[in-house]
């Protein structure tokens, strides 16, 4: 179970990306997170596994307060949270198998991962997952030899290889064609149901969200403006979320998202600093 309590994020530029976001995710629930670009969707899921540092508030996963962790503790928490990315974010020059096995990095020593001698159980599980996502024939191919849909399947297998307690999914279909998008969404939701795995799927395609998720949360300018079942998502609600006529807000949003990105990048570049 995931609890998010009064989460706030203010970027150094002064933009408020998240404004008192609170929500609770029970076991096995797939939540679609919708909203205009720059509404804070990406920031929200990155605050959960702390790829972005929240400014205030608390995130708890099955009782562990993620927001107070650091170093070793943070890494152990991250390995319990699988993440799937917009442009797959596979390590292009590694094989499919290595990409899937990289999901176990939080569990094995550096030396084992360096020599690629992962435990037998991890390897068996990777084979099982690759079969589940339909890539048994591509184990030894390099990731950059695959098509977009296949790469996203590898991304899914990598996240599941972590044996996560929560899945964070960031725009899984943004770089895919409509048909592949539906296949990927179907695969994702099936896997979540099979394993009673809660997931937050950040998605810009409202129709896909309505079709495949159990619950929809609408974000606008960092605030939760809708939280309900997919059927309750009416035209009026959509206008409220996307502000069809409020172009000013959209433009601000776009600017904000550019700043978000710059800030996330700046944070990522400090990854290795010990200070």
């Amino acid at each position: 179970m995931l609890d998010i309590i009064a989460l706030n994020k203010t970027y150094r530029t002064g933009d408020r990306a998240l404004d008192d976001v609170s929500l609770t995710l029970p076991k096995g629930q797939v939540v679609g997170l919708i909203g205009p670009s720059g509404a804070g969707k990406s920031t929200l899921i990155r605050c959960i596994n702390r790829l972005v540092e929240p400014s205030a508030g608390e995130v708890r996963l099955n009782g562990t307060a993620l927001t107070s962790l650091s170093g070793q503790g943070l890494r152990q928490a991250r390995r319990r949270i699988g993440m799937i990315f917009q442009e797959y974010a596979l390590v292009e020059r590694l094989t499919v198998m290595e990409n899937v096995l990289s999901g176990r990095l939080g569990y094995v020593s550096f030396w084992r991962s360096f020599t690629r001698r992962f435990p037998g159980r991890d390897i068996a599980r990777a084979y099982q997952l690759l079969e589940r996502v339909g890539l048994s024939d591509h184990v030894d191919k390099r990731a950059d030899a695959l098509s977009g849909g296949q790469r996203q399947r590898v991304g899914i297998a990598r996240a599941l290889e972590q044996e996560p307690e929560l899945l964070l999914v960031d725009e899984p279909t943004a770089s895919l064609d409509p048909r592949t998008s539906r296949q990927i969404m179907r695969l994702l939701t099936e896997i979540c149901r099979e394993n009673e795995l809660p997931a937050i799927v950040n998605i810009h395609d409202v129709l896909l969200a309505k079709q495949f998720t159990d619950r929809i949360i609408g974000l606008r300018a960092g605030k939760v403006v809708f939280d309900g079942r997919p059927e309750e998502l009416t035209e009026n609600v959509l206008t409220e979320i996307y502000g069809a006529e409020d172009w000013q807000a959209m433009r601000n949003g776009a600017m904000e998202s550019a700043e978000d990105e710059a800030d996330a990048r700046a944070q990522a570049t400090r990854l290795f600093e010990t200070t």
Binding site: N49, L51, R75, Q76, A77, R78, R79, R80, I81, M83, F85, E87, A89, L90, V91, E92, R93, L94, E98, S102, G103, R104, L105, G106, Y107, F110, S113, F114, G155, R158, Q162, L168, R265, A268, T269, L271, F272, E273, T274, T275
Partner: protein, 270 residues
């Protein structure tokens, strides 16, 4: 490819004052050139210069034909030269890799102390030619192969280090982020997220540097750092021009071979 749209000459876009400034700049360059020529020719002994064609013809006639029998004494120095280049490249790249990770802004462990230090090492190594390194090391370690190897290594550190840290800074952040999200440690992020991305660049840079090092190691012997340059130096001292010619031809052949090898390796790996 050809930058059709962007290559509209910059100076046509300028205002009249800017245009004037550009002309002034050109004028300044011409004036500086003339002044430098004056400065240089003042110290030139012109009688030598006018004699140069004669001197050249004289030396050319004395060095032909190359003394082929001298070849027997050149195989061992040639082997030494290859060793200097290869072992120096190995040592240099081995030292350059950690330095590059310290110098790249996205992997450095400390931005304030280690990064500037690593950058200074790289610049210092790059600005000092391997022959100067050899000069220093021969004066410290004594003449021989070791000084040559270390000189080549020291010069390679800066070259490989600079190109490698630029490659590290250009790595795709999303791949690194994804590896971070799995709970990987910093060393694992380097190994899985960054290293595979810079590996092709690393191979290309090292092989390219090896090629340059072969070229440079042929002359290190001039200052006593081993290899075929030692033979060149002694032949020059004895004014044994047929030997000099043979050595120069041998160096030329070696350089062409190494260039062919390195370009074919780089083609195979990229």
């Amino acid at each position: 490819m050809s930058p059709v749209e962007t290559s509209v000459p910059v100076w046509r876009r300028r205002t009249p004052t800017a245009q004037l400034a550009i002309w002034a700049l050109w004028l300044g360059i011409v004036a500086l050139f003339v002044w430098c020529c004056e400065e240089m020719t003042q110290r030139t002994i012109w009688s030598f210069v006018w004699d140069a064609p004669q001197a050249a013809a004289d030396i050319a006639s004395r060095s032909w034909p190359p003394r082929w029998s001298y070849m027997d004494q050149l195989w061992s120095p040639l082997w030494d030269t290859l060793n200097i280049a290869t072992l120096g490249t190995l040592l240099g790249t081995a030292l350059a890799v950690p330095l590059a990770f310290l110098a790249a802004s996205n992997t450095t462990p400390s931005r304030l102390i280690l990064r500037p230090l690593a950058l200074f090492c790289i610049v210092a190594s790059r600005s000092i030619n391997s022959l100067i390194w050899a000069l220093l090391l021969v004066s410290i370690l004594g003449p021989g192969l070791l000084a040559g190897i270390i000189a080549i290594a020291f010069r390679s550190i800066g070259f490989v280090g600079k190109l490698l840290y630029e490659a590290i800074e250009e790595t795709d952040l999303k791949q690194v982020e994804a590896i971070t999200a799995t709970g990987a440690s910093k060393a694992q992020i380097l190994n899985f997220g960054i290293w595979p991305q810079v590996l092709p660049a690393f191979v290309g840079i090292s092989v390219f540097r090896w090629d340059i090092n072969i070229r440079e190691s042929t002359i290190l012997g001039l200052v006593g750092a081993g290899g075929i340059g030692m033979q060149l130096q002694s032949s020059l001292n004895m004014l044994a021009w047929p030997q000099v010619l043979l050595i120069v031809l041998l160096i030329l052949a070696t350089v062409l071979c190494s260039e062919a090898i390195s370009s074919s390796i780089r083609k195979a790996t990229i």
